[in-house]
């Protein structure tokens, strides 16, 4: 186990190098430069000023040298100053905004697990019953509705429809991130997709498990249905859905950009999109690497968890 984790952490290094190299090449191979003024129709900077700035930011060096310098500094978590927010270091901006995004992501995943897993289990136990239909509707909605569409729907329902029908404003608000009340709608918008996928997977894997012989044995020896399901079936039925946890983390992580945009959450999303279009090289590299590390660690945790839950699975 320990060896497995070590080896995976070791493999993280070449993966991150490859990711940063691809990002670096895409950034520099395409036309456009961070020295172009961002305002439309603005006059370009005089060539001398451009040359000075290039020197200041080290952009005049050959590409391979720039990349080596970047890697050398990145190892010590030094990503330099943002090109857009010139007074702030990239790491400062990320330290202020990443926790917010992470908070939102964790709540969305928690919501998806707390609602999605029981929904899938109940749907499998009472197949073709009311709960099963509800679960499949939720699954379809979650899988096919992008989170920003869900966000729009939620705002329309909560802000426009509810007050008109019931004559008062219900609690959830649609902007900011100050109080737990503000957290409700973004969490639902971001969590609905993983919830739907999870419910769908849990249901199909539970249906499979419920058909197996050991379940019949448990029933035959007179266990209550409740104990059969919770004690015997759920334990086994939840293992396959774990495999999709990796892609689900990715969906939640990138999805949070859109949800943050709609609900004005002060997370990383805003900076990310802005940094892309204004060619804020240090910011782009840092954000993409941060996501690479985050995803890799999440996948590692999932794989490790996999073998803890099911000892039959050997890590290799």
């Amino acid at each position: 186990m320990f060896q497995f984790i070590l080896r995976r952490l070791f493999w993280l290094v070449p993966t991150l190098l490859a990711i940063s190299l691809i990002t670096f090449l895409v950034m520099h191979a395409t036309p456009g430069s961070p020295l172009q003024p961002t305002a439309a129709n603005a006059n370009p900077l005089p060539p001398e000023a451009q040359a000075n700035l290039m020197r200041q930011y080290g952009l005049d060096r050959p590409l391979h040298e720039q990349y080596v310098i970047f890697v050398w500094k990145a190892v010590r978590l030094d990503f330099g100053n943002s090109y857009v927010y010139r007074t702030r270091e990239v790491t400062d901006i990320l330290a202020a905004t990443f926790p917010v995004s992470l908070h939102l992501g964790v709540m969305a995943m928690g919501f998806a697990i707390i609602v999605g897993v029981p929904l899938g289990v109940m749907a499998a136990v009472k197949r073709n019953g009311t709960i099963d239909y509800i679960a499949s509707i939720v699954a379809v909605l979650g899988v096919s509705f992008p989170n920003f569409v869900v966000g729009i729907f939620l705002i329309v329902i909560v802000v426009l429809v509810f007050p008109q029908i019931f004559g008062f404003h219900i609690i959830p608000r649609t902007g900011g991130w100050e109080s737990p009340v503000d957290w409700i709608l973004p969490t639902i918008a971001l969590g609905l997709q993983p919830l739907g996928i999870l419910a769908r997977y849990v249901r199909s894997s539970m249906v499979e498990v419920l058909h197996q012989d050991f379940i019949r044995t448990a029933q035959a020896k007179g266990l209550a249905q409740r104990r059969v399901i919770i004690g015997h079936a759920v334990k086994n039925g939840l293992i396959p859905p774990l495999t999709i946890a990796g892609p689900m983390f990715a969906a939640v992580a990138t999805g949070s950009f859109f949800v943050e945009y709609i609900f004005r959450v002060p997370g990383m999303g805003r900076f990310f999109v802005e940094s892309m279009s204004s060619r804020d090289y240090p910011m782009i590299m840092a954000v993409i690497l941060l996501y690479g590390v985050f995803l890799a660690i999440m996948n590692l945790v999932v794989d490790a968890l996999y073998s803890v839950i099911d000892p039959r699975i050997r890590l290799s």
Partner: protein, 316 residues
Amino acid sequence: MGVFPKRGGDQAATPGAGVQSQAMRSDALLHAARPHRTLWRDAFSRLVSNRLALFGAIIILGITFLAVFAPLIAPSHYAYQDYGAITQSPSREWPMGTDLVGRDMLSRMIYGARVSMAVGLGAQIIVLLIGVPIGAIAGYMSGKVDNLLMRFVDVMYAFPQLLFVILIMSMLGRGLQNIFIAIGVTGWVTLARVTRAEFLSLREQDHVLAARSIGAGPWRLITKHMMPNALTPIIVTLTFGIPLAIFTEAALSFIGVGISPPTPSWGGMVGDNQSYIRSYWYLSLFPALAIALVMMAFTFFGDGLRDALDPRSGKR
């Protein structure tokens, strides 16, 4: 319901098994007497008997119709601005209202179908052209080429696809053509992986070995003996890629790096108008509904197609 009982033991142990097995036999006879059908005819009949898939197909056809004949159906041109009628609520004259610069929302919605359908179908053609050859070569050659490709695929999987698409788009600039490139460059990975897996197992099969032994060359082996057998998973993967591509375009346009205005795109319309949702809800609600509807239709259709082409998978 299969023709043969899944667990023979069950049937023998239950009372009235004789009657049941008799019924089974007549059932089997009925199926044996069924006229001969090809795989595709068989799949087609399964597809049209699936109500949800049919529903999806009808919606897809309807939206395609709107997209193709947009100039004939739309009441006005998508960029026509009527300054005498800005932000009109939905009424008889403007069924979906008008936007902030007096453009008819209904016309923009109808033209918006063009972008979504073009991206959904067009990007899949690029994905097909890149993914299948690479996957086929890797699977057919196996060994070193395969290893190299799989390492690259691992890296591509290690960073969120949407992040990479946003990066490419903000570097290349807005436009339909660039969206095709961005989705094509990132989307082929899954298809290549699926094709490779199929080819790896096919190359070991007897009919391929037989063809090889009588001197069939690589080209003939791939196109005549392996490709037809790998077609089902390729088609299913491509179909599931369509809603993903539509989502990607909508998401890109939503954050402002997708289609360049004034060309209407549903995602762009949601993104442009979402700040005014409290005052003009219809400006973002209708495009959001359209995105949800088209993605749901393709998801239903994809599910149905998968079940039709491979009856063993999917619902139990």
